[in-house]
């Protein structure tokens, strides 16, 4: 299985994406999945359009991308976090 490139983005690329990034890191480790996590500002996603496999973000996404986009607000609020984790895992396992 090829190593997936996962973009983790928020508005500023410093606050909420840091929390989400670390949560995915832990999750990948637990499931023994090797993943290439890139933490960026949502405005920078375009630079990765050709290489990314997945975008996980707390920001609103107005553009359509060639890869799936998962909303990660639940990592901040705890509401629906297990569902989000499963969504991400199933993408990582593809």
């Amino acid at each position: 299985m090829a190593k997936k490139q996962v973009l983790v983005a928020c508005g500023a690329g410093i606050a909420t994406s840091t929390v989400v990034n670390s949560a995915i890191e832990e999750m990948a480790k637990e499931n023994k999945i090797d993943v290439n996590l890139i933490q960026i500002k949502i405005a920078e996603v375009n630079s990765y359009v050709d290489t990314a496999d997945l975008l996980v973000t707390t920001a609103m996404v107005k553009t359509t991308y060639p890869f799936p986009v998962i909303n990660a607000r639940s990592f901040l609020t705890g509401i629906g976090m297990e569902d989000t984790k499963e969504q991400i895992l199933s993408e990582l396992k593809k």
Partner: protein
Amino acid sequence: MAEFYLDKRLVFLQMTGSQEDILRSMAENLVKEDLVETSFVAGIINREKEYPTGLPTSSSISIAIPHTDIEHVKKNAISIALLKKPVTFQVMGEVSMETPVSIIFMLAMQESHAQLTILKKLMDFLQDETTLQDLSESQSQEHVVSLIERKLSLSASKGGDR
């Protein structure tokens, strides 16, 4: 771990006004305390419009965590406002979902990774209904400071980098 500045001068009780008035007052206060650049004020207001930070929690209390780019920040700090009446914020990551916010945590951050521990604790805090309730009912700035310091282990982070 990086130090985070919190002082009772950064705590507002019974705050009123529009969302923009409140964000402006909080940000201008951070400028006055020399913790951020003057540009932080516009940075916060514009960022909130573009990338809203309202967060519904599992309790009835919604919060917001306005923040902006690192170049506007001189020193890591957190400013807290308890609103007299909830003020409407857009929900983070949603096109048209609003939430009535009662507590605002304004974050001034210089870098990301050093702050992970604080951010994670802040998120734990948001998932803790009892503490949120306690915070929202605070009657003094000192109470807010001691509660936040305890919950985010801010005092333990003083004394420089690990």
